[in-house]
């Protein structure tokens, strides 16, 4: 099935938003895993990280195949300023409760956002999202269990962390209006509707934590306004992933480069996902 150029460009952006957010979220688990105090938490985090990174790589491979991109370039040839992950995940967790509540918000948002493509006309994406959902159900169950097991002190930490974590996750749903994917039938549920479902999820969380006040609940009503918003990347315009987070995702040290599995195609080749640079048709093709 072929779509107009603007729909294809919008779909690439949205798929990268999903893939990159899964990619960063997987690294949140990887980076925090070694702090585990219990073997079962350690294995749970490792298992979820494996699946989140799997979701990201499944989408990378699909995009490379479907859009004819060079192999592995989406993972290894982009810069920190070209990543489409949600800004919620830029700041590292400050404590266990902050870690858990951020995972909860990111996972719920990612699923509500992805699910808008689940029953769309574009079967390859719809099928991938359905498969992701089957696994994300258990990730959310695990996070719900962690939330339920928080003690009094940790619930206070959660109450302190939530006001800063909420606005960026709500802002993530700000996209183009009208939505080209909705008009093309690739998305079957409008994003504002998905956002309302996310707010209902968050209200349930807030109601289950007595330490949270009504002021936090009001935050769910109005996402923070940002003067410069990059609707393509769903991030503040010009923002890049923090260097430490980025280094953990694609290490640049000599040792890491030496140990990296060789790629079939050089990552020095430039990729142009959105066709902004017009190719010179007179250039010889090899």
């Amino acid at each position: 099935m072929s779509y107009p150029a603007e729909v294809t460009a919008a779909l690439k952006s949205e798929l990268l938003c999903i893939a990159d957010s899964n990619w960063v979220l997987g690294h949140w688990y990887v980076n925090c895993m070694l702090n585990g105090r219990e073997l079962t938490d350690f294995t749970s985090m490792a298992g979820i990280a494996e699946e989140k990174l799997g979701h990201a790589r499944a989408l990378f491979r699909f995009m490379e195949e479907h859009y004819g991109l060079a192999e592995h370039q989406l993972e290894f040839a982009r810069s920190a300023a070209g990543i489409h992950s949600m800004a919620l995940l830029d700041a590292p967790p400050e404590n266990w409760a902050d870690f858990i509540v951020t995972l909860h918000l990111a996972d719920q948002a990612l699923w509500r956002f992805s699910a808008t493509l689940r029953t769309g006309d574009f079967a390859p994406v719809a099928n991938l999202i359905t498969r992701f959902g089957e696994e994300a159900y258990f990730h959310q169950l695990c996070i719900d269990g962690w939330l339920k097991a928080l003690d009094d002190g940790e619930r206070h930490d959660l109450a302190a962390a939530l006001p800063a974590r909420l606005p960026p996750v709500l802002k993530w749903f700000d996209g183009p209006d009208p939505d080209p994917l909705l008009e093309a039938g690739i998305r079957t549920e409008p994003l504002p509707q998905a956002l309302e479902q996310l707010k209902a999820d968050i209200r349930r969380l807030i109601e289950s934590v007595p330490e949270l006040s009504d002021e936090v609940l009001e935050l769910t009503g109005s996402p923070a306004e940002s003067a410069a918003w990059d609707a393509e990347r769903r991030r503040p315009r010009g923002s890049a992933l923090p260097p430490r987070l980025w280094e953990s995702m694609v290490p640049t040290s000599e040792e890491a480069k030496l140990a990296r599995r060789p790629l079939a195609v050089s990552v020095d080749d430039n990729i142009d996902l959105f066709g902004k640079v017009k190719k010179d048709e007179t250039e010889p093709q090899f």
Binding site: N35, E38, T43, F138, K148, A149
Partner: protein
């Protein structure tokens, strides 16, 4: 940063799996968790070495003694 720790809420759960529809459920292991949500999630994550058609979890304390090897006298008749 302190992550994850054993709590007084921790309890043992037994995990059962069936890898083909026509096969019976078999006991495949145990896990410790402070609540049902974590027990189910951990069972799914920990015992993912094969594709199960059914996987279920039960609190160990919900099992009733029937026969026990450590009991004095004739097993099952004490």
């Amino acid at each position: 940063m302190s992550l994850g720790r054993s709590t007084s809420l921790d309890q043992q759960f037994e995990v059962f799996g069936r890898d083909q529809v026509e096969r019976p459920l078999s006991h495949i292991g145990s896990i410790v968790a402070p609540n049902q949500e974590l027990a189910v999630a951990r069972a799914r994550i920990l015992y993912s070495e094969r594709e199960w058609v059914e996987l279920c979890v039960a609190p160990a304390e919900s099992f009733m003694d029937c026969l026990q090897p450590g009991r004095n006298g004739v097993v099952g008749l004490a």
